[in-house]
Symmetry: C2
């Protein structure tokens, strides 16, 4: 998902409890507390009293891009293994309890972080913390659970990728865009490396990254900070500090200099597709305001059916049945700006790419107007406000931002920064849409093999 749909709006910051109010934005924002336990674990509390439920999440500042070289997939594999029981609680006990309490649970692994969450009635928050704290250090891994779970992951990979040409093209595009940085390796890992992951790999990884200094507790829901703090001290607070947070070793991608094209033809392709990915700064690597300008640019160029790409290619020229653009601002390292189009019947991908390039040339030539920027900003901020209706979205905004080195204040200030983007900022951001920084992908129906 693009950051444009992931961030709540702005507000003025206060010392430790941060509340929207006197900022330039008129929207009401969440009141957010952020503190740190003595063992180094961050805690973020987002009170939301609309219903008597809580969303309890623990985020670890390690994702697939931190997988040791040759052990790709270990972050995601360990996420699976975290459900295999601890010395205190046998396999399935935690999940069974959540289900019995009428709650929900899940976990996800991204390039930059891994997170676990449960949503339960407010009175069970302490129990969730007990179980989650227990599996931060008490995981019990035996060969009997590791080997079958590896088969599960291999099957997951087969289902998602091996059988899907579009997913295969995505893997090849990412590998061509990130030739050196680990964003070029799929989150789930390369199959031939997943196959070799064993109990010792999982334990080494677990001991390296699953520490209080590397974790962020995010609680959103029908609670206030003092209660969360008390419960967190009784559970997570008892885990001894390791001394320091684990190091993330990530080589930087060299400056791209050549245009790259990736073509995949397969008889299973039903809808051909053109896409292009540009290597661009993220909110974390960009200069001040750069990610926000790219957010505006992506929305103006390709956000929805009023965007430039959609109007030109779908509505006016009938070259495409769909077209758009999006940008992932939320990444620890240099990130991706996507442009895509699906051809109309009888239109070749080469013709479609020329059409996309003409729209991009028009944008480079004419730039954006003040109205374009304001329209995009209004829409992005409104989307963010609506998205806050979801308690899980609220919790994710803060968790992912903190996992990537951001602060609560930065998250709360996002709308104000979006509204402050000027025409010149977007004009400057256009420099990133250079083919030398890009990989173009062609997904084709293989007629010969069909």
């Amino acid at each position: 998902m693009a950051r444009s749909q992931l961030s709540p709006h702005s507000g003025a910051a206060q010392a430790s409890s941060v509340e929207a109010g006197e900022g330039r934005s008129a929207h009401a924002g969440p009141r957010v507390d952020h503190f740190r336990l003595e063992n180094g674990m961050d805690v973020v509390v987002i009170p939301d009293h609309r219903a008597p439920v809580v969303t309890h999440m623990v985020w670890y500042r390690n994702g697939s891009a931190d997988d040791p070289r040759g052990k790709s997939g270990i972050a995601h594999f360990l996420e699976h293994l975290m459900f295999k029981g601890t010395h205190a609680h046998k396999q399935g006990e935690f999940s069974h309890l959540v289900a019995e309490l009428g709650g929900q649970e899940n976990a996800f692994t991204s390039y930059d972080f891994t997170a676990y969450f449960q949503r339960v009635a407010r009175e069970h928050l302490g129990t969730m913390m007990e179980f989650e704290a227990d599996r931060m250090t008490g995981l019990n891994l035996t060969d009997e659970v590791v080997a079958p779970e590896r088969d599960v992951v291999m099957e997951e990979r087969r289902m998602r990728t091996e059988a899907d040409p579009a997913a295969q093209l995505d893997e090849a595009l990412n590998a061509a865009l990130y030739t050196h940085h680990a964003y070029g390796v799929p989150i789930i890992g390369w199959g031939h490396e997943i196959e070799t992951l064993d109990r010792q790999d999982a334990l080494d990884y677990y001991r390296r990254f699953y520490t209080p200094e590397n974790a962020i507790l995010v609680v959103a829901g029908d609670v206030e900070a003092p209660e969360v703090e008390m419960l967190a001290r009784q559970t997570y607070g008892k885990i001894p500090a390791r001394g320091e947070a684990p190091l993330r070793r990530r080589p930087r991608e060299p400056e791209p200099r050549a245009e790259r094209i990736v073509k995949l033809a397969d008889p299973k392709v039903e809808q051909p597709q053109f896409e292009r990915i540009y290597l661009v700064p993220s909110a974390h690597t960009g200069e001040k305001g750069e990610a926000e300008a790219l957010d505006i640019l992506a929305h103006h160029l390709g956000g929805g059916q009023t965007s430039l790409l959609f109007r030109r290619l779908v509505l006016e020229r009938k070259l495409a049945v769909s077209a758009g653009a999006y940008y992932y601002s939320d990444a620890l390292d240099d990130s991706r700006f996507y442009v895509y189009a699906l051809p109309a019947e009888g239109v070749s991908l080469e013709e479609l790419e020329r059409g996309v390039d003409e729209v991009l040339a028009e944008l480079q030539r004419d730039g954006v107007s003040r109205e374009d920027v304001e329209r995009a900003a209004t829409r992005l901020v409104a989307d963010a406000v609506y998205a806050q209706d979801s308690q899980a979205s609220l919790a994710r905004w803060f968790g992912s931002a903190l996992a990537n080195g951001g602060t609560v204040q930065e998250v709360l200030g996002w709308s104000a920064r979006i509204e402050a983007v000027a025409v010149e900022d977007v004009a400057k951001a256009l420099k990133w849409l250079n083919k030398r920084r890009a990989v173009s992908g062609f997904l084709l129906k293989d007629q010969a093999a069909a």
Copy 2:
């Protein structure tokens, strides 16, 4: 260089001294001794009494593909630093001595190995060994020599790559072919990583890889094995064993599935160029006879002016001013098969690529004849025999083969294996020339920017 020009011909093997003679090949081959010192260092002796000189080489089984991730260029940087003096001999002393003795010296870093050599009059062999053994463990690195030498390497990179569009395209092609394996990283390293290499990085790398268990001594020239053995024991033999050879950690490239194209346009380009690289097995990763079949295939397809590519594209169709193919068999991991063509005046690279693809389609359709295979084998073996006139080439064949896990016997058996390649072996090897396994490169003159 292609292995086809790197390997001497065959012969029958004897116990420890290996001599050509009773093998199926009629050519006279070198007599080669191979033994191991007690500390694990391999020694290869190739007597060559045509002149009273010796070539003394030490090979280490580590190259740029063993550089730790994020420290690219460290193998090559350390090769430079090996000339910076030891605790026993100050900077420049060794090189000065070689020059005074009327000798030559050099060093080179490859993907898979690093080597140092001197050629001197035969009576100075023992002195060379003393100095080379001394710098295997006695290197004296201070910040005063490390920092300026890093600038020298940065300048070397600027000269070779930053100013040369063809070199930039090569870097981009390799990075696109090897998205996961370190052959995708330039031997010299990425500029932004070279800049960060410091004394500690160099020392860590030196201590890890510069050990007797990881080294191979190759002496070719006017000596016999007993003398070399005696001198080696007095010098290299005194270095304590480390206990085991260092581990080379190399992730394997995932199976390629998408065709990739890389385009680089630059106003400095004088001669546009089309090239394609296929990911294929090496002599080390392939099945028995596979690398030899690829050697024959490369020669038939693109070795010189009688090759299929040259005849079709240059002589008959006048699409190209030059065209050819080559194969690097000599690699520890999966290797590269190149096809290239330079367009004639007025021919576009797209037209030229179509021409290349037509030649490849013809080859896939018609295969090769028994005469084609025999002609290629005869030529490859003859080239290898002629190349043995160079003492340095002789020494390099054995050093590079042993550094990549090969044996003296395998090197000596190369010609016999080439002569044993059958038409069906080449037909089978053709399966590797599949676009899904390939990256195509277009080097273009940027007219707009010119």
